[in-house]
């Protein structure tokens, strides 16, 4: 059974003239225990999609989907409160800039304790306080923080970014979620710390069978840690498949460009030669092209591209393009 199954999810920004589709009919499916990468440039709507799943978007955004199933339950049919109850029980999210995501005036310990699930506590109310403390310390141990005494008493600004992200992961683990959404968890972090955080996420996935949706703009890095990858561009679905399919045989011109644009140390590049890039930049929300939004930048674009392509499926490798690069590989 699919853990999460989203079909044609759109996120609209209500403006005075006409609504802007910041995310336009995106599909996303995840199985239990899967690590899926969600890749795209900044501004491609990855974070919006994640926040829409968790339900923490502001009122100015309107979310709409043909299908939004969570472990077989149709969430679109439930009321907002019921949806929030199910989601907050089973889905946790960690954000970029972990330090900004912790309350600056409350100690780490207090913030951890309030994340602890009440249902996991047993005994009378005078015992619960102690149990909460213990649970908080256990959570810190789970994410590899050994000096829990110092950590519990400190304020967020006294810890490093990587430690704060570990604390955020500890809080996310408090409710024993089925799915952890990690929204660029290592942005603005040093590479040694990045490795630590990714290894921690990978071990959580292996030991606890927790599914992880890893959002990143760095395709190359994501391939080390994921089973499957979904690529987005400017709020549209581009391509989805296993990591090998995406990285080795991309069918979509955009994914091709994304793979090619990451420089590799073992490939000989002549001095002062141009690196492979797509011309132009990602369109702003006010000036979205019609049809396939990659159109103006796409090297293979033709007249047909002014209509949005239908998703084609090649052995569970989905691609949304009129002219996929399928024939290039034989």
């Amino acid at each position: 059974m699919n853990l999460i199954d989203i079909r044609n999810l759109s996120i609209k920004l209500q403006t005075s003239t006409k609504p802007i589709f910041a995310v336009d009919r995106v599909n996303l499916t995840m199985k239990e225990g899967e690590v899926r990468g969600l890749v795209g440039e900044s501004g491609s709507g990855k974070s919006l999609l994640a926040q829409a799943i968790v339900g923490v978007l502001d009122e100015k955004w309107a979310v709409d989907a043909d299908r939004f199933h969570w472990r077989g339950n149709d969430l679109m049919r439930l009321s907002a409160e019921e949806r929030k109850a199910i989601i907050s029980k089973d889905v946790a999210m960690i954000f970029q800039e972990p330090m900004a995501c912790l309350d600056p005036t409350t100690t780490i310990g207090e913030q951890l304790e309030e994340a602890v699930d009440v249902e996991q506590l047993t005994g009378y109310f005078w015992q619960k306080r102690q149990q909460r403390k213990l649970a908080a310390i256990n959570l810190l141990h789970k994410v590899g923080i050994k000096q829990h005494e110092v950590c519990v008493k400190s304020f967020p600004h006294q810890l490093t970014d990587a430690l704060c992200q570990r604390v955020m992961i500890a809080m996310a683990l408090a409710r024993r979620p089925m799915l952890l959404i990690a929204d660029e968890p290592t942005a603005a972090m040093e590479s040694t710390n990045q490795g630590q955080i990714f290894r921690l996420l990978a071990s959580l996935n292996q030991l606890k069978n927790m599914s992880i949706l890893l959002i990143s703009h760095d395709l190359e890095n994501v391939t080390h840690w994921t089973n499957t990858i979904t690529v987005m561009y400017s709020g549209q679905f581009v391509e989805a498949g296993t990591t090998e399919q995406i990285f080795n045989q991309p069918y979509h011109p955009y994914t091709r460009a994304l793979v090619d644009s990451s420089p590799k140390a073992n490939r000989m590049i002549p001095n002062k030669s141009r690196l492979m890039t797509l011309p132009g930049s990602i369109p702003t929300l006010q000036h979205l092209p019609i049809g396939c939004r990659l159109g103006p930048r796409c090297p293979r674009a033709q007249q047909k591209c002014v209509h949005a392509p239908k998703i084609k499926n090649f052995h569970s490798h989905q691609v949304s393009c009129h002219f996929p690069l399928k024939d290039n590989y034989s």
């Binding site: 926040q51 923490v56 946790a92 954000f95 800039e97 900004a100 309350d103 600056p104 409350t106 955020m168």
Partner: protein, 342 residues
């Protein structure tokens, strides 16, 4: 925290130094003899004046004169009032507690009304409640205080007769002067009519407090509203939502504390404003405070009193400022630590 406190006190010290310089230079700038302006002895004989000139080291340079002025200040000698011929320090000690009482009660009322109402406005942002509160805040802030005071007397004490129109307490009650703060003195006294006196003093307090508190309360409303909106927009509130906390948990545990910290910073600034309003209100309600005394002294060209009142009032404002700064540091862990370049 210790370093933070020491820093505040060094700031206090230097500000007071500047204030005494200003007040000292005022004695030169006011018309008339400088020595008489400084001491307030208008009817002194030439012999007495010679003694005074010796005391204030008139023969030495400006610096020497200033140092001897400071010496007198630290001994509590601010000269004599030119009109009542009483020592300024006695006058101030008699008058200041009434102002402290009025101003602090008004500040508390303004805080306890303004801040929660502002938070409500932010929580119901862009709804009817928010617009209503903003409108009230705008109107309340625009009403001139002297007009409001007179109107309050006209309606509530003359037409409706609910509250007395002037004074601090009815003349029937005889309360011994211990701390000077009327309400505390009443509680300390052993008069059999203690509770009647207390009620009467409270009834006297209500109208002036409301008049003084109105403008600061509306400012606090707007400050609290914008602080709360800012906090509700931060990442940690979004993260708390994703953590599964309910809206009220988020407001009470995270949003309120962070918003209050932002507001408290500005309360100190508003206190000077509040004292100005209190001075005008004291005149309207014949409140025996230092504000009405100071305004009276200005009318009567009592230069010595103006200098003394200036120092006392501004150091009072400054002390309150420091107390609020310390409260701010106690609430905000970020402010406690010395700032380095990050």
């Amino acid at each position: 925290m210790l370093i933070f406190t020491l820093r505040r006190f060094s700031l206090f010290f230097f500000t007071l130094l500047l204030l005494t310089m200003l007040s000292f230079s005022l004695s030169f700038l006011f018309p008339g003899e400088q020595l008489i302006n400084l001491t307030g002895q208008i009817s002194a004989s030439p012999e007495q004046l010679a003694i005074l000139a010796d005391e204030y080291q008139q023969q030495s340079g400006l610096l020497g004169q200033y140092v001897s002025y400071l010496k007198h200040l630290f001994q509590g000698d601010m000269g004599y009032s030119m009109t009542s011929h009483l020592p300024i320090s006695t006058e101030v000690l008699n008058r200041l507690p009434a102002t402290v009482e009025l101003a602090s009660v008004a500040l508390l009322v303004a805080m306890f009304v303004g801040i929660p109402v502002g938070f409500c406005a932010a929580i119901y942002h862009r709804k009817a409640a928010d617009n209503l509160i903003l409108t009230i805040a705008m109107i309340g802030y625009s009403i001139p205080v002297f007009w409001l005071g007179i109107l309050a007397i006209l309606v509530f004490s003359i037409q409706l007769g609910w509250f007395p129109s002037s004074g601090q307490i009815s003349l029937l009650f005889e309360i011994k002067h211990i701390t000077g703060l009327q309400l505390i003195d009443i509680l300390l006294s052993d008069s059999p009519y203690k509770w009647q006196a207390f009620q009467d003093a409270t009834r006297h307090l209500i109208l002036p407090v409301i008049v003084v508190a109105l403008a600061p309360a509306t400012i606090f409303m707007r400050l609290a509203r914008s602080a709360m909106l800012e906090v509700l927009d931060t990442h940690y509130i979004k993260a708390a939502k994703a953590k599964g906390l309910t809206f009220s948990q988020i407001i009470y545990r995270h949003a309120m504390r962070n918003a209050i910290i932002k507001v408290i910073r500005d309360i100190g600034l508003q206190f000077a404003n509040l004292i100005t309003i209190a001075m005008v209100t004291e005149v309207i309600f014949s409140w025996p405070g230092i504000g009405s005394w100071l305004i009276e002294s200005i009318y009567q060209r009592d230069y010595t009193a103006i200098q003394g009142g200036l120092i006392v009032l501004s150091s009072f404002i400054f002390i309150v400022h420091i107390i609020i700064d310390l409260v701010y540091a106690a609430l905000n862990p970020l402010a406690r630590e010395p700032r380095h370049g990050t």
